[in-house]
């Protein structure tokens, strides 16, 4: 059984995280922003799993389960909010949804 090297696992997690972050920052469609957030969450989950494999400890995997559960909750709430936003404003463009401007 060959182990994936610890470093490449982390690098993959970092790349995924960055991709997600960039997605959040540049996409204007709110659904894609939510997707990007999911990618970021999974990237951090991957980092946990990698770390747990490196030190042979179970905590990282437990954390990943937590993250999964949280992501599921977040998606359900987030999608419901998005439905409402679309219902109210007939758009999903976050730049036009700036009614909270101070």
């Amino acid at each position: 059984m060959t182990f994936v090297p610890f470093e490449s696992g982390l690098i993959l997690a970092a790349v995924l995280f960055l991709l997600g972050l960039i997605g959040v920052l540049v996409r204007r469609n709110i659904i894609f922003m939510l997707l990007s957030t999911e990618i970021m969450l999974n990237a951090s989950g991957l980092a946990f799993v990698t770390a747990s494999a490196r030190w042979m400890q179970p905590e990282g995997q437990i954390m990943f389960i937590f993250i999964l559960a949280m992501a599921a909750a977040e998606v359900s709430v987030g999608l419901a909010l998005i439905m409402q936003i679309y219902h109210q404003f007939k758009t999903l463009d976050t730049d036009t949804l700036s009614n909270m401007k101070g």
Binding site: V26, I30, M33, K101, G102
Partner: protein, 626 residues
């Protein structure tokens, strides 16, 4: 019977409480029943107690009813206690009885007002405080009543508070009388300092035994108390609030600003007459202030066009007569004039209110005219009251009260020809302005149509007061008419009799004839100038003198420049002092910060995400580097 004394002020107070709490939920019949009834029972009780008091007088012709100790601080123990003697009995009688009639009148007069229950609550509270004032056994309770009536006066002048002028008038009345009240409070502090009590009878006894006649402490205390009396009774130089106080409803003017509250100063001086006798300078000042006030206010009344303002100046003038009477030592006559004045002046205000209401709130009496046929009851009662005010000889009560004051201002041992002359001129002017008012309002051609006729509850008080304005005088006849004087005789249990000057006082009859002739001449003059020959008066109206008198002899102008404008000026330049700047700086800083931070609130979620990322990166960098 005398033990029920406490009920006289307590009943109106109870009426106030009930009206204040439940007034909003009661219908108008209930409100009127409660508001008028409480004062009515008080008046009835006063009559019964008065009969009891006169028929079987208690020991020392006074009755003391202590209820409980108010506070007890190091031997200083003022109580809630009432004291009834001939002086306070007459005041209580006039207040509750005239008060009852005015309440009855108001029940109809105010019927269309949305503040019906508020009005009766205030009026009941006023009666309660006023009776507390005159029945108080100690100066502290008296002061409570004194300030209480001031409060009610303020509330009722500003009763129609939606008009800014009314609120202004209420503030003016409150602030100007406050000047006098402060002076009175200092006077009371002096008394506490010397005697460690505020019990009126104790103090008066201590004063007469311990203080020397004319000593500086007696003069100072008397002077300070006089200040309070001047403010409350609208005498020179604190008279400016009363004409403006006419902004209130007419029953308020009748009750507070004619019959009762404004005579509180007269009561105070009469009550502390021992003190004033020990300070002859101050007593002289009382006479001189009274004389000047009656003259100046009389002249001012000559040029007013608002019927209520004429009556206001006439009230100031008549209280001037009372002060004159007190100042020359004719204590009982001052009180007699108070009582008669309460009758006829309340009647004049009530009748004027009816006229104003009938003409859709027309106050200018030169726009009235010819109401003789339209409002016969009002006309006749108004005429009777006017005759009484002008001291029409022999038949009116005003004649008996005023004529004797004029006579004693000559004949008293501290009177003088000057005081006599001024009071005589005052009587002449009084009859001129009074009948000017009568001719303008009720004679000539009708200029404004009558829209509203008074009903029964308005007519009854008018008729009763008219009867009193005539019959009230016969309890006190001058020496020349038999000297039947049960009124002064009754008061002499409390107040000393007039000391006549020993020689050369002349005959009273001659003086009476002069006074009566001048009164009639004044009526004739008013008839000539304001009824037959109006052209002359039209020309007089254009003169500077007339305008000067119309403005109340320029006292408002003077006070504005002497006190009001400097105060505003100082307030304005003090606005930017150091401490203020400190606080202004803090507000400016927070506003600036706020504006800066508001800019970051773009409302764009991507911007927030970017900032969060940047923050996280910076924090991580710092953690990693350090």
């Amino acid at each position: 019977m005398l033990n029920l004394l406490w009920l006289i002020p307590a009943l109106p107070f109870l009426g106030f409480l009930l009206l204040a709490v439940f007034g909003g939920r009661m219908n108008k019949t209930g409100i009127a029943f409660l508001g008028v009834g409480s004062v009515g029972i008080s008046a009835l009780l006063t009559t019964l107690i008065g009969i009891d008091f006169i028929s079987s007088p208690p020991a020392g012709h006074s009755f003391n009813q202590p209820l409980w100790v108010w506070m007890n601080i190091a031997g200083f123990k003022p109580g809630i206690a009432f004291y009834l003697d001939s002086l306070s009995l007459i005041f209580t009688f006039a207040i509750s009885f005239v008060g009852f009639l005015i309440h009855l009148y108001s029940a109809e007069f105010m019927i269309d007002d949305e503040g019906y229950s508020r009005f009766f609550a205030y009026m009941n509270l006023f009666v309660a405080f006023m009776i507390t004032l005159v029945l108080a056994d100690n100066f502290l309770l008296l002061y409570l009543g004194w300030e209480g009536v001031g409060l009610c006066s303020y509330l009722l002048i500003g009763f129609w508070y939606k008009e800014p002028e009314n609120v202004y008038a209420a503030n003016k009345a409150f602030i100007v009388t406050r000047i006098g009240d402060t002076s009175m409070a200092i006077g009371l502090f002096l008394l506490v300092l010397h005697f460690n009590t505020l019990d009126i009878q104790n103090i008066l006894q201590s004063i007469s035994t311990q203080w020397v006649r004319g000593s500086s402490i007696a003069v100072l205390t008397a002077f300070l108390l006089l200040g309070g009396a001047l403010g409350k009774s609208a005498q020179l130089p604190l008279q400016t609030w009363l004409p403006d106080a006419m902004a209130g409803p007419s029953p308020v003017s009748a009750l507070i600003h004619a019959a009762t509250m404004v005579t509180a100063g007269v009561y105070l001086i009469a009550r502390t007459h021992t003190l004033f006798e020990l300070a002859p300078i101050v007593q002289n000042a009382v006479a001189i202030i009274g004389a000047l006030t009656l003259l100046i206010a009389g002249f001012c009344a000559l040029t007013q066009t608002d019927i209520k303002r004429v009556l206001a100046y006439s009230t100031i003038s008549q209280i001037g007569y009372m002060f004159l009477a007190l100042g020359i030592g004719a204590w009982a006559l001052g009180i007699f004039h108070f009582m008669i004045h309460a009758f006829f002046k309340a009647l004049l205000f009530l009748a004027a209110g009816t006229v104003i209401n009938a003409l859709r709130h027309e106050h200018n009496m030169f726009k009235m005219g010819g109401l003789r046929k339209e409002l016969p009851v009002v006309y006749w009662t108004f005429l009777i009251a006017s005759a009484s005010l002008a001291a029409f000889p022999l038949i009116t009560a005003g004649f008996y009260s005023k004529d004797e004051i004029i006579w004693y201002s000559w004949a008293s041992n501290i009177g003088s020809p000057w005081l006599w002359l001024i009071s005589l001129i005052g009587a002449f002017i009084t009859s001129v302005y009074t009948f000017r008012m009568v001719f303008a309002t009720f004679f000539g051609e009708q200029k404004t149509p009558v829209s509203h006729k008074p009903g029964k509850r308005i007519k009854i008080p008018l008729i009763v007061l008219a009867a009193l304005s005539v019959l009230g005088g016969f309890v006190e006849l001058p020496e020349t008419m038999g000297g039947f004087a049960p009124f002064t005789h009754f008061l002499h249990h409390t107040l000393p009799a007039v000391a006549l000057r020993s020689e050369g006082s002349g005959t009273e009859l001659l003086f009476q004839i002069i006074t009566a002739a001048l009164t009639l001449a004044g009526i004739y003059l008013a008839y000539q100038f304001y009824f037959k020959n109006v052209k002359f008066t039209e020309r007089f109206k254009q003169t500077g003198l007339s305008k000067y008198l119309y403005s109340g002899c320029g006292f408002d102008w003077l006070y504005d420049r002497a006190f009001v404008y400097p105060a505003i000026f100082f307030a304005r330049i003090n606005k930017n002092d150091f401490i203020d700047n400190m606080y202004t700086f803090i507000t400016c800083l927070s506003t600036a910060l706020n504006e800066m931070l508001v800019k970051t609130q773009t409302g764009r979620i991507r911007w927030y995400a970017t900032v969060i990322t940047m923050g996280a990166v910076i924090t991580l960098t710092i953690v990693l580097v350090s």
